[in-house]
């Protein structure tokens, strides 16, 4: 039984069809990948899944519940969290504050107007734990904008994780990273794998092939292939296409 499902998604912007009859399912506890060339509709698909856009047609189902067209905040509260391709941190916050704001416990206290946000030991410990989990232990007091690129990416995932999601969507986690940082990121995601359900968009095929349990290939707004990495690797179509780096 899939935890998260997309059923027959259609998406049109004006007269341009971006997504056409996309059906996907992401089983619980697995890491699923979505890949495809630039402009294939990956990111749009992602935005539809996480509630940023409402699909023209079709349904998005999470844990047996239809969440199509719900506002992002409602979807987020149900346990769907996402990272962003263009890094989307709170730049003037410290790393710790970035994580803190994302904690559901903080969200529940959001209309607390007089408490001390940074004075709650329990909250701060949780934030510290998240930072540690993404390899940023000790970097809590640094301003997000002063972190290195790799650290920022890790923090990006940390913020998504802090929301304590049941499904974590990662939007091109490797984009812009160097080899070392990619290796570090791979390590981090591998650690998370199994703990929660992960869906990643990626055009770095090598990276995704090494991590994912199953992969869907999107092209021209359609799912053109699905399978395990091994199956796809053997597929001549995928090998011949220019979908990304494949050693």
């Amino acid at each position: 039984m899939a935890l998260f499902e997309a059923q027959g998604l259609h998406m049109r912007f004006g007269d341009r069809v971006v997504l056409e009859d996309i059906s996907l399912d992401f089983p619980e506890g697995r890491l699923s990948g979505i890949m495809g060339p630039n402009g294939a509709g990956k990111t749009t698909c992602f935005n539809v899944l996480t509630g940023r856009y409402k699909p023209t047609r079709g349904r998005v189902v999470f844990d047996g519940e239809d969440i199509t067209g719900l506002p992002p905040r409602t979807i987020a509260r149900k346990g769907v969290s996402r990272s962003f391709q263009l890094m989307n941190l709170f730049n003037d916050f410290t790393a710790e504050e970035n994580v803190l704001v994302a904690l559901p416990a903080m969200r529940q206290r959001g209309f607390d107007l007089i408490g001390d946000a940074m004075g709650d030991r329990d909250l701060r410990e949780r934030a510290e734990a998240v930072l540690e989990r993404v390899g940023l232990a000790g970097k809590g007091p640094e301003l997000a904008k002063n972190l290195s690129y790799g650290d920022r990416r890790a923090l990006e995932i940390g913020v998504a994780l802090a929301a304590e999601p049941r499904v974590l969507f990662l939007d091109e986690p490797t984009s812009g990273l160097g080899t070392d940082a990619i290796a570090r990121l791979g390590h981090l995601i591998r650690k998370l794998k199994g703990e929660i359900t992960i869906v990643a968009i990626e055009h770095d095929m090598e990276f995704l092939f090494g991590l994912a349990d199953s992969i869907a290939v999107i092209h021209w707004g359609q799912v053109i292939r699905r399978g395990t990495p091994a199956e796809l690797r053997a597929n001549p179509w995928v090998q011949n296409s220019n979908l990304g780096r494949l050693k």
Binding site: N91, L100, M106, I114
Partner: protein
């Protein structure tokens, strides 16, 4: 914080000696309250309102009307002013909270102009351009004792008390979970929404809050002036508070608005003595600040402190954090 309290807390003892006068002190403090409240919206929430004078004016009128028609209790009248400003702020926030940037700013102008227009037109209530006159400085009744605040110096102390309360409340608000969320919205509204926050509601809340503070300041101003006049609601005066907040450095410091208000009033009062064209000099000064030190006075101050205090002890760090605000 201590420095500010020390300066304003002793002001009546020396202000006359330096050629100024207590009424100016009271007016400065009232505008500090207004500007600090405004800065929660602009500096922390990143929401530029160019029609905030409206809520200041609503507070002033509400205070006067409450005094004439409802009650002669200072506290009740103040509460009425705050509630009135908050009420209208809340209504407006319904229309503007899902807007951002320039569209937000423009909508606030449009609503501000509407309130200004209604206040000028509704002469049977507001007395139009003549002003709602004879608003009294009601005695501050603390239950066990009542203090008259008719004269300028006791009135100054009263305003100072209000200032301290406002500072404490706003300081707690900006450092509360709510304050953090508001700051998060300023930095990245979409991301905050994806973290499960109802950003529209938060924006509405922070707008309403700052309107309430503006109403509070407006009520005090009505007491200071002994009347409520429609001009404080016009676009120019709404612009002035933005100017004071930014020139002081509201974007980088909780205290920025205080510096800005002090600079604005003192410079104006002193320049005004020597020249009728103070607007020219002030405009030039303002342009220079925006060009060369957009972080404002607080930014300059921070620059000095940071440079001097490279190796910081924890005590001075603590002090610094208090001074900078964040």
């Amino acid at each position: 914080m201590l420095v500010a309290f020390a300066i304003f807390g002793t002001l009546p003892f020396w202000i006359s000696e330096i050629g100024l006068y207590p009424y100016l002190g009271a007016e400065v403090l009232i505008f500090c309250i207004y500007a600090l409240g405004y800065n929660v919206l602009l500096g922390y929430g990143g929401l530029p309102s160019f029609g905030h004078g409206a809520y200041f004016g609503i507070g002033a009128y509400a205070f006067g009307l409450a005094q004439f028609n409802l009650s002669s209790s200072l506290w009740l009248c103040l509460v009425a002013a705050i509630l009135a400003a908050a009420f209208f702020g809340a209504i407006v926030s319904l229309f503007i909270s899902h807007r951002r940037g320039i569209y937000f700013a423009l909508m606030t102008i449009a609503f501000g102009q509407m309130f200004f227009f209604i206040a000028s037109k509704w002469t049977s209530v507001t007395k139009g351009e003549d002003g709602l006159l004879n608003i009294l400085r009601l005695p501050a009744d603390f239950g066990f004792a009542a203090y008259p605040i008719q004269r300028n110096i006791p009135f100054y102390w009263f305003v100072f008390g209000c200032f301290v309360v406002t500072i404490i409340v706003l300081w707690r608000v900006v450092n509360s979970p709510f304050g953090k969320v508001v700051q998060a919205i300023k930095q990245n509204e979409a991301r905050t929404a994806f973290l499960g926050y109802n950003v529209v509601l938060y924006k509405a809340a922070v707008f309403t809050l700052s309107c309430a503070v503006a109403g509070f300041a407006g009520a005090l101003f009505a007491m200071a002036q002994g009347g409520a006049f429609v001009q404080v609601m016009n676009l120019q005066w709404s612009g002035v508070v933005v100017l004071m907040v930014l020139i002081g450095g509201g974007f980088v410091s909780f205290w920025g608005p205080v510096l800005g208000v002090v600079l604005y009033f003192v410079a104006r009062d002193l320049l005004g003595v020597y020249t009728d064209t103070w607007q020219l000099w002030f405009g030039l000064l303002f342009m220079l600040v925006v060009m060369f030190k957009p972080e404002g006075l607080a930014g300059i101050w921070q620059g000095i402190v940071y440079r001097k205090q490279k190796p910081r002890s924890s005590a001075s760090l603590h002090l610094l954090v208090m001074l900078r605000g964040r």
